[in-house]
Assembly symmetry: C2
Homo-oligomer: 240 residues x 2
């Protein structure tokens, strides 16, 4: 895990802003820009318009845990107390809406609109807690990759397409960040990605571009599905 690196706001550069229909301010951030740090005073909340943001917490000895990965509509910066409970940093060029806390406190309509999103994030955290508490390292890595294939592997998954069940995407996290998200070390993540590559589950082009030729096979490695039953009953797959 990452130790004793405290990101500073000067790492990235804030990029622009504009007022938006009185209910917030639109902010533009470059990739790898710190939006706020754990312990900062929490005067406003943010919603991602587009791009990607990671939230992380640091223990005092430098251990880091990424607690949420957010894309469009993701809410962050909400604090029950006076201070931010985690830091927020962009992964990509990102636009956010910044809303004053007391604005939200005074607008039930706004609160309601945000409520549904909050619930979605709560359930995503339930799933992540399950991953961290009860999944093996190979299952964690497979689950992480499945995040990038959002229409698959959940309630309403259409199952594999005949013939061509592939997906490709770009990893937006560095190995260290993947490790800090999955509660592993960078070496373990690297070894397991190599293992997936060697076994032909994924192909990689450079460090970021991933191609999955058989999504269903990857999905069977996540631990969230019985390896018999459902779509994939025919082929049983090794866990490593």
């Amino acid at each position: 895990m990452l130790r004793s690196r405290q990101a500073s706001s000067a790492d990235g550069v804030f990029d622009g802003s504009a007022d938006v229909h009185g209910s917030g301010r639109e902010l533009h951030f470059r990739p790898r820009t710190v939006i706020f740090l754990q312990g900062d005073e929490a005067r406003s909340i943010f919603q991602v318009i587009d791009g990607a943001v990671m939230l992380y917490r640091l223990l005092p000895d430098g251990r880091r845990q990424l607690v949420e990965l957010l894309t469009a509509n993701g809410l962050f910066g909400w604090a029950p107390l006076r201070y931010r409970d985690c830091a927020a940093e962009t992964l990509l060029a990102t636009r956010c809406l910044e809303l004053d806390r007391d604005l939200v406190d005074r607008s039930p309509a706004l609160a309601q609109r945000l409520g549904a999103q909050l619930v979605a994030q709560l359930c995503a955290l339930h799933e992540h807690v399950t991953l961290l508490g009860r999944k093996s390292a190979p299952e964690r890595v497979a689950s992480f990759l499945m995040r990038y294939i959002p229409d698959r592997g959940h309630e309403g998954c259409p199952g594999p397409r005949d013939g061509d069940d592939c997906a490709h995407f770009r990893l937006t996290l560095l190995r260290q960040e993947i490790a800090d998200y999955l509660g592993l070390t960078i070496e373990t993540v690297s070894r397991l990605l190599t293992s997936l590559k060697r076994r032909g589950v994924v192909r990689m082009d450079g460090l970021e571009e991933m191609v999955v030729d058989d999504v269903c096979r990857l999905c069977r490695l996540t631990g969230t599905h019985l390896n018999l039953g459902q779509w994939c009953s025919a082929h049983t797959d090794e866990a490593r």
Copy 2:
């Protein structure tokens, strides 16, 4: 971890109910009563009035993870999709308010009132994710015990009282449940509690009654605080 035990609704007994000011129904549950199961249809949400509720998710092979421990005001049963993402079971005799989903959807004022609570639970999950991803087993157990001393160990902790810095409480979870909450096995939890006992950090009366004579010492074992600085700078403490 618990394997292949599927709690049935018949385990516990629903105990009574009453309508409450038109905005919900008050339900009474005995200890160890299943309120709903993972996968049940989600027509309503619940708020704890008093008592205690645990939420847990099961992986298909029987691994279990407790995702939230709720007491008064805790919200649960919110689902972004049609089905419950986790099961809910009482730990103690518990009163809950049950609210229809569409009632909440139609009442911004209600949604706003619940929003603040939702945010508090989101932050609690951030902390729990950090525990599961980055803390050692001894740190997890110490952190778990500190949950029962709510006014200590957080922002605004008054520090140790002179002379007498003790606390006592009753564990509401079985060893297996503690293990499933902390992402450990029952044996590890047992060994670490024994170790805390042997070292004089806690005393136990039976399996449930806990006495902590030096709260600050326990707190220094959680990993969330620097072991030097703050109140407790004088005494450095072993990690095990």
